[in-house]
């Protein structure tokens, strides 16, 4: 399966948004069937189509004073925060080559993250009705990865964010992530040591390749809902 990787490094949300649209057009033209855009964002709060503005707890002036931008976007889901220290991944996949099933695609994105966490002997889990990847600690669920996608002509865009570094979780207190009263966690918080974001990128791309090469996964048989 031909997979093209684009690593944008640390970029503004708007620049990556435009770039996604270019990759989307390339996939639509059938230049390649699957693209992945990897990046870290400068601080930004985004609100998806199911978003409620009252889930942004801070005044717009407070966001601005902290250098945090705000955008309403065409993905599903509510409010989220992106910043340096998170790995944001935009899989732009033509589902005609896999299976035209929104639910299956979302569950497989969760599985990619769960497989990655498995490399660190961390047990991530899915929760039915609460899309994303969760970690259970002392009976409480914390979120480590958030997901919100858009689909046009069965081509996906937007995607997922994995909290890698621990230094950036503080800004989540400015919002109610996904409209829920939840605690966020990160790979570094769980492991108690520094994690190299480039290593995570490589591992994540590897997991996507495994998923795409395993036709029974992205293209059909669902596992472990």
């Amino acid at each position: 399966m031909s997979l093209k990787i684009f690593d944008l490094g640390l970029v503004s949300f708007i620049k990556a948004w435009d770039f996604q649209k270019d990759v989307f057009q390339a996939v639509k033209r059938a230049d390649f069937p699957f693209g992945i855009v990897l990046c870290q964002h400068y601080p930004v709060v985004t609100m998806g189509r199911s978003g409620q503005k009252n889930n942004i707890l801070a005044e717009e002036a407070v966001l601005r004073s902290r250098g945090i931008e705000f955008y309403e976007v065409e993905r599903g889901g509510d409010v989220t925060y992106h910043g340096p220290g998170q790995l944001t991944v935009y899989p732009i996949f033509d589902l005609h080559y896999l299976k035209k099933d929104i639910n299956l695609f979302l569950r497989n994105l969760e599985q990619v993250i769960i497989d990655l966490l498995g490399d660190f002997v961390i047990r991530g889990k899915k929760i039915r009705g609460l899309t994303g990847v969760w970690i259970e600690e002392a009976g409480k669920n914390q979120k480590i990865a958030s997901i919100g996608i858009a689909i046009k002509n069965w081509i996906t865009f937007h995607g997922l964010t994995l909290n890698v570094k621990k230094n950036d979780l503080e800004n989540f207190s400015l919002i109610r992530p996904c409209g829920l009263d939840i605690k966020m966690t990160s790979l570094e918080s769980l492991l108690g040591r520094d994690i190299d974001l480039d290593d995570i990128k490589q591992r994540l791309v590897g997991k996507f390749k495994e998923e795409l090469n395993d036709q029974s996964r992205f293209a059909g048989v669902r596992r472990g809902d």
Partner: protein
């Protein structure tokens, strides 16, 4: 006259919410133009117009929930 129906979106997805109409009643639309955006749990989905013509009737409005197989709009061809 062509009915625009909410297609199968995936296993376990029985309904979706209309989040945005790209066209109004009476407007001309081309085949494959984005006609309506729908939202499920964590995904938005754009439904393209199946034929070229005029949007003669919009049967569900932004914010309404629709079931798979339900008619969303009627397009008068030509």
């Amino acid at each position: 006259m062509t009915k625009v129906v909410l297609p199968e979106l995936g296993e376990g997805i029985e309904k979706a919410t209309v989040s945005y109409w790209y066209f109004k009643e009476g407007e001309k639309v081309q085949e494959k133009n984005d006609l309506v955006e729908l939202t499920t749990d964590k995904a938005t989905f754009n439904l393209p117009c199946p034929v070229s013509g005029t949007v003669s009737q919009i049967l569900v409005h932004e914010g309404d929930t629709v079931n798979v197989g339900e008619v969303l709009a009627i397009i008068e061809e030509g």
